[in-house]
């Protein structure tokens, strides 16, 4: 397949904002501490309220936690189908018939700090889809998806760009 074989239904999605979503819960310190514990991060900004008050006007979340705040619950009452983060990625897998996928690249730009109590909203934009390529994993396509994050005051808190590779193992 070549670039020309990219379905028009996929081309039509490029640069279109989709999946405006609001986080299931406000940013909370339990997750901030769990994240710091997972990496043994002793930065006093996250553990010492006096340091946080001095430098950031109160507690903040570690910037690298940005995507944590838009990942849906694994389960919730009334949900028949598990909600997935980065739904555009899973849509592409389905629509292009590529059952496996991995993420290869991530670029994140951090703006206003995220604070406990913030409710984060996101939207996703497909930026590009490559022609089919052969890799050691199989034959598939690379795609780039941006996620824009805002707090409940409308301030931009970050932009994250993911490169995914969807592929078929049996074609390797």
């Amino acid at each position: 397949m070549s670039d020309d074989d990219l379905p028009a239904s996929i081309t039509a999605l490029i640069d279109v904002p989709r999946y405006d979503e609001t986080s299931d819960f406000p940013v909370e310190r339990g997750y901030i501490w769990t994240s710091c514990a997972s990496t043994e991060n002793a930065n006093p900004l996250y553990w010492d309220d006096d340091v946080a008050a001095e430098l950031t006007g109160g507690p903040i979340a570690a910037p690298s936690m940005l995507s944590t705040w838009f990942r849906p619950h694994h389960w919730a009452p009334g949900l028949d189908v598990q909600r997935l983060p980065l739904q555009v990625h899973f849509d592409l897998k389905d629509q292009l018939g590529l059952p496996e996928a991995v993420m290869s690249d991530n670029t994140t730009i951090f703006y206003e700090p995220v604070r406990p109590g913030d409710v984060i909203s996101t939207c996703q934009r497909l930026r590009s889809v490559s022609a089919e390529k052969q890799t050691k994993l199989g034959i598939g396509r690379f795609w780039v998806i941006d996620v824009e994050y805002r707090n409940d005051r409308g301030e931009l808190v970050g932009i994250e760009s993911w490169t995914g590779f969807g592929y078929r193992r049996d074609a390797a």
Partner: protein, 161 residues
């Protein structure tokens, strides 16, 4: 136990400076706690059978958002709490598995002050396991230009990450 808190300023940094190496022995717990901390429920980060049979890799592996958290920890260990992460771009070349010892190294690639007076350091970071390059990262972090400067106090047009 008392810990000395580093508050690195821009004048203490030069292009080519290496950062201290960080070595960490990864266990299955490291991978699973990292996945849960980032609310990543995908099975390749906790289910051995799924990882090996569906993904075709040798074990569960460290997820991308938790690698971002490791990069932040590594960089702010060096900068101290006044270091403000602005931009991070990483590429995962190979997976990091339980039993691996991941080794972080980095060097300073740029030092400059922008037109708003914000001090910036660019760094290239590498995570390797033995001779395998697992993840490479380019980062940009703001450091105080003087001892009483605070990059976290910058907002709006005065913060250009």
């Amino acid at each position: 136990m008392t810990t000395t808190i580093v508050r690195r300023t821009l004048d203490q940094v030069a292009v080519g400076d290496p950062l201290p190496e960080l070595r960490y022995d990864v266990s299955a717990t490291t991978v699973v706690v990292g996945a849960l901390a980032t609310r990543d429920w995908r099975p390749q980060h906790h289910d051995y059978a799924f990882a090996t049979q569906r993904n075709g890799v040798r074990d569960i592996f460290l997820n991308a958002p938790n690698q971002a958290a490791w990069f932040e920890r590594y960089l702010t260990d060096w900068s101290g709490p006044t270091g403000r992460l602005a931009r991070m771009s990483f590429r995962m070349h190979d997976s990091i598995f339980p039993g691996d010892t991941m080794v972080f190294t980095a060097s300073v690639t740029s030092v400059d002050v922008d037109e708003t007076g914000c001090g910036w350091v660019g760094l290239d970071v590498l995570v390797a396991v033995e001779d395998r390059t697992c993840t490479t990262c380019a980062a940009r972090i703001a450091l105080p230009v003087t001892a009483d400067d605070n990059p976290w106090a910058r907002h709006g047009e005065r913060w250009v990450p």
